[in-house]
């Protein structure tokens, strides 16, 4: 616990390092979007004897346009952290400001609206609709949220390198391709933040690198990207590395020279 670093210490790293990493030319960066500030956030599950403090007083600031990797042992609270930032779980206490909006204490209906406008999620197991093609898996989000533009869907698929697989069904796609469809889907509403929970967890190394490369591309478009992973090697590509242990932020490290996706291995 000794090395716990207050999130605020790393607060400005996002912008500073944004132009940094190898292979990233400063000119490519669009205006930074998103960002998040957590103050005294607690998340408690259960009550009494079975009480679990999944988040136990988290203070953390993620700069707009930053690329953050969250590391930590199993059960440390990584997923919970991601979920409260994305507004699919309510914090028990504390304040959470995402993309300039305070989201703690909001109603479920409000939170759905917030997610619609600001957040995109990518899950470990893709969660694609098996009866929809790649294109349709993205389109359905536009159709049901009323946010985004269905005509942009082919571009989104092209951005993740799937222009030629748009009419394939999930069963006809590899795991990495499915995860890229999931990323395109998360982008359908043009979110400010992209939150990915173990996006490479179900993939082999090569495919995993492709996914991380795709996430870096999106980050370059100015979005705030948060990737949760077990894999310390992934931390190389981030400009901010947050380590969570026992529901607390143990450290926040800046990475002056983020590496390219190819550098990652497991």
């Amino acid at each position: 616990m000794g090395t716990t670093v207050n999130g605020r210490h790393g607060s400005t790293t996002g912008k500073e390092t944004a132009g940094g990493g190898a292979g990233r030319r400063p000119g490519e960066h669009a205006a930074p979007r998103g960002g998040a500030r957590l103050t005294g956030v607690r998340k408690t599950y259960g009550a009494g004897d079975t009480e679990v403090h999944a988040l136990d007083g988290v203070d953390l600031e993620l700069a707009p346009g930053s690329f953050t990797v969250v590391l930590g042992p199993s059960g440390s609270g990584k997923t919970t952290l991601l979920n409260v930032i994305g507004g699919i779980e309510q914090a028990t206490a504390g304040s959470i400001e995402v993309a300039g909006q305070e989201i703690s204490g909001r109603s479920p209906v409000d939170l759905a609206g917030f997610r619609r406008d600001h957040v995109g999620f990518v899950f470990q197991f893709f969660n694609l609709v098996p009866t929809l093609t790649a294109r349709e898996n993205v389109e359905i989000i536009v159709e049901l949220t009323g946010v985004g533009d269905a005509r942009r869907v082919p571009d989104l698929l092209a951005e993740v390198g799937l222009a030629d697989r748009a009419d394939h069904f999930p069963a006809q796609l590899s795991g990495g391709q499915q995860q890229r469809v999931a990323i395109a889907r998360a982008l359908a509403t043009d979110p400010d933040l992209l939150l990915a929970d173990e996006p490479t967890g179900a993939l082999d190394l090569t495919t995993g690198r492709q996914i991380l490369g795709a996430l870096l591309e999106l980050h370059r478009a100015g979005r705030t990207v948060v990737v949760v992973t077990h894999n310390a090697s992934v931390a190389q590509i981030a400009d901010t590395v947050v380590t969570v242990v026992d529901g607390k932020v143990q450290s926040v490290e800046r990475n002056a020279e983020p590496a390219a996706a190819e550098a990652v291995s497991w």
Binding site: T79, N83, G86, I88, E89, P108, V109, A112, G113, F114, R115, R116, D117, V119, G120, F121, F123, Q124, F125, N127, V129, P130, T131, L132, T133, E136, E139, I140, I141, E143, L144, T145, V147, D167, F169, P170, A171, Q172, R185, A186, A188, T189, D197
Partner: protein, 776 residues
């Protein structure tokens, strides 16, 4: 064993709503089986109890020499016989003049055949020749009790007699003059039993009927002997209009006790199957683990079958528990309403056993397929943690081309085909719901349409008036002069027996003017004219005698005279099977036909005005009887509220049936797609939109089921009507478009209701937890 039972119960409790839906459907099926089946048996036994106690004649032979008929029966081995006079005689009861029925009885003591039970007053006495017995329906209609008087027409004018007793007769449990008038004006019919000598004296009619109790004798032999001895007609129990009416009604219970349970139990079985199959699929990894650890297949099968059995057995036990007292209630209400003296209510342990067995069977069958599926789980396959996505089929590709459709619709179209089990079950829900509603409602609307045809097209007179022979023209003039009377037409009527090829049928022969405005003769949808020679007959005669238009039939009148006549054609009439000819034709066939006036009133007459006219007409000299032809319509009108109540109950039952199945498929759909829905919710899709995704798929399956359900429902309605088609009723299916539209709408609304719990489940869904888990 104990642990597996506890696990089964816990598993079922977790799916409370769906289990309740399946259970409720089983319960209703078993309940209807027990209640309707039990009522059918109790009523049959009650009727037969009365029949046996009062010696309801096995055979009634009509002929000019009934003693010869009785002797023939006795020498063929019949146990008991009796002869009597039965005659239609004008009467006045409480001021109402009508054509009543006089029946001769032995005054000294109760007869062994066709006895009566005295419910008020006393039986006949030789010391009181003018004391008569009045059948209880007439006593109720006219408010007469022992000590009251009534008048009987005799050759010497009106003769006043005294009611000695009010009686129940096995021949008139349901009061009907003939099979042509099973439903009629209660004020136009009364049965009076009097001493045989007096009946003969008043009417001038010698005995004309022989009554036979067979004992051990063969019915065919005795019938043959009776015909050989000159019987013009031989009637069995089922020819008796009262028994025929009660039997039709009983058949209704019988049909209900089979058709309703069949539908409900099928629905329940399919719902249980869908429910448990889903469970097995989701529990495959666990099953695989257990089997890898050496669990026996039998145990796995048993675990799932046990769940089906628990649902089926519990629901069936409840169903029989509620059904048994309901049986008693139905029986009592019925026998009381009909005035059946014997109410036999017995326990039907076999129905209870069969009812429970049905529930057990449905539970076991519904669970069998999923249970076997579970036992077939290959341990390794189930435990491999890779979700295997099914490859898209051709249909998916076809749907891809429908670019214009919303993505959610395309998804629904594909899911409907990709998951045929669920789609089939959902469709079955709407199909069964529609069949139930259309078959029952079709029965009612057809009945109402039949009345419309009968009284709008076929029988257009408002009243028929029997007058003294020779007075027809005079009375016609007087009646047409009355306020409220529009038209009067002369006609003739007579009871006859039609014979063809060894079979006979007793009916009424009507002599109607060829240019009549009172009667429409419809054949094959067209109006035809009354032929100047030959007779027309109701289409039912074809079934009764095997005749066809062009055949020559025999007509035997009350005096026993038989004449050949050509059957010129068959007409379609909803009520009764009658014979029609011109007055001239009738004169050649029947010795002394009864003169009748057919009267039509001005339109829009109030009931009070009609009753007033009845009083005025029956007050005229030479008028012997009066029948309000449309009394039945008035009765039906008064039951219209009941009609709508029944309609409502049936639609509700159909809704429950559809809902139970759709509810289960819907919730299974919800479970199977939890991850998809959670992913949508995570992306900010509202609860309503997410629920809409589910609803679209269900709606596609339901809408696909609608045409099938409508067609099946119409066929079922037709089949049901067929069961009730006799010479007494010919119902044509009449289902207005509004019935079809409303029924279809009802199913869609039921489906809509099943949305409510689904939407609630989506709202309560823990998105965070679902997306943490991996897809299975």
């Amino acid at each position: 064993m104990k642990i597996s039972l506890r696990k089964a119960v816990r598993d079922l409790a977790r799916q409370r709503t769906q289990v309740t839906a399946v259970g409720l459907t089983v319960l209703l099926g078993v309940l209807m089986f027990v209640a309707a089946g039990g009522a059918f048996r109790n009523l049959s036994t009650s009727y037969e109890g009365t029949y046996h106690r009062l010696g309801f004649a096995d055979l009634l032979a009509v002929g000019t020499d009934p003693q010869a008929l009785a002797d023939a029966a006795t020498s063929t081995g019949a146990a008991t016989t009796r002869i009597r006079t039965q005659v239609e005689q004008p009467m006045t009861l409480s001021g109402t003049r009508l054509l009543g029925r006089l029946i001769g009885m032995p005054p000294a003591g109760h007869p062994a055949v066709d006895d009566v039970e005295v419910t008020e007053g006393q039986y006949l006495s030789p010391d009181d020749p003018d004391g008569v017995l009045l059948e209880k329906h007439a006593a109720a209609t006219f408010g007469l009790a022992p000590g009251d008087t009534l008048q009987v027409a005799t050759a010497d004018g009106w003769h006043t007699v005294t009611v000695r007793g009010v009686v129940v007769s096995p021949e008139y449990l349901w009061p009907a003059r003939s099979r042509q008038e099973v439903l009629g004006d209660p004020h136009s019919f009364a049965v009076v039993f009097a001493s045989q000598d007096q009946v003969q004296a008043w009417s001038g009619q010698a005995p004309n009927q022989a009554l036979v109790l067979l004992g051990g004798a063969s019915q065919a032999d005795v019938t043959g002997a009776l015909r050989a001895a000159g019987a013009s007609d031989v009637q069995t129990w089922s020819d008796n209009p009262s028994d025929a009416a009660l039997t039709l009604d009983l058949n209704g219970f019988d049909t209900m006790s089979k058709a309703f349970p069949l539908m409900f139990l099928t629905a329940a079985g399919v719902a249980a199957y869908v429910l448990l199959t889903r469970r097995v699929l989701s529990e495959r990894p666990t099953i695989g683990t257990l089997m890898a650890a050496g669990a026996r297949r039998g145990r796995v099968v048993w675990h799932y079958v046990l769940q089906g059995l628990l649902i089926g057995t519990t629901a069936a036990v409840l169903g029989t528990a509620i059904g048994a007292p309901l049986t008693v209630l139905i029986t009592r209400v019925y026998t009381t309403e009909l005035g059946i003296p014997d109410t036999v209510v017995t326990a039907h342990p076999d129905l209870t056993v069969i009812g429970i067995a049905l529930g057990v069977l449905v539970g076991a069958l519904g669970a069998a397929v999923p249970a076997v599926l579970a036992a077939r789980t290959v341990p390794a396959e189930a435990m491999r943690n890779q979700a295997t996505l099914p490859a898209p089929g051709r249909w998916s590709g076809v749907v891809s081309r429908l670019h214009r459709l919303p993505v959610t619709t395309r998804m629904a179209l594909r899911d409907v085909v990709r998951n045929p089990r669920r789609t089939f079950a959902t469709m079955l829900g709407s199909v069964l719901g529609l069949v139930l509603v259309l078959a029952s409602v079709g029965m009612m609307t057809s009945m109402i349409a039949a009345l419309d045809t009968q009284y709008g097209t076929v029988q257009r007179e408002d009243a028929s008036v029997v007058v003294e022979p020779g007075a027809q023209d005079q009375v016609a003039q007087q009646v047409s002069g009355l306020d409220g009377v529009a038209t009067v037409e002369s006609a003739l009527a007579s009871q006859v027996t039609v014979g063809f090829d060894g079979s006979t049928y007793a009916t009424s022969l009507q002599g109607i003017s060829p240019d009549t405005s009172m009667h429409g003769f419809i054949s094959g949808g067209h109006t035809i004219a009354l032929p100047s020679d030959g007779v027309l007959a109701g289409a039912g005669l074809a079934d009764q005698l095997g005749v066809a238009a062009g055949d020559t039939v025999t007509v035997t009148d009350a005096s026993g005279r038989t004449t050949d006549v050509r059957l010129a054609g068959l007409v379609d009439e909803p009520l009764g099977t009658l014979l029609y000819g011109t007055p001239a034709t009738v004169q050649t066939l029947v010795a002394d036909p009864t003169p009748v006036l057919l009267v039509r009133f001005d339109s829009g007459l109030t009931t009070a005005a009609r009753d007033g006219l009845r009083g005025e007409v029956t007050g005229l000299d030479h008028v012997l009887a009066y029948t309000d032809t449309r009394a039945l319509l008035t009765v039906v009108d008064s039951y219209l509220g009941l009609f709508w109540a029944f309609f409502g109950v049936i639609v509700a039952l159909g809704g429950v049936l559809a809902l139970a199945v759709i509810q289960v498929t819907m919730s299974v759909n919800l479970v199977e797609r939890t991850t998809e829905l959670a992913t949508l919710r995570a992306a900010g899709v509202t609860v309503r939109k997410a629920a809409g995704v589910l609803a679209t798929e269900n709606l596609v399956a339901i809408v696909a089921g609608l045409p099938i359900g409508l067609v099946a429902g119409v066929l079922a309605a037709q089949g049901t009507l067929g069961l009730f088609g006799t010479d007494m009723f010919h119902l044509r299916l009449s289902l207005g478009w509004w019935v079809l539209a409303l029924s279809a709408l009802g199913v869609v609304v039921a489906a809509g209701l099943s949305q409510v719990p689904a939407a609630r489940a989506i709202r309560r869904m823990d998105v965070a937890r679902v997306v943490r888990e991996r897809v299975t």
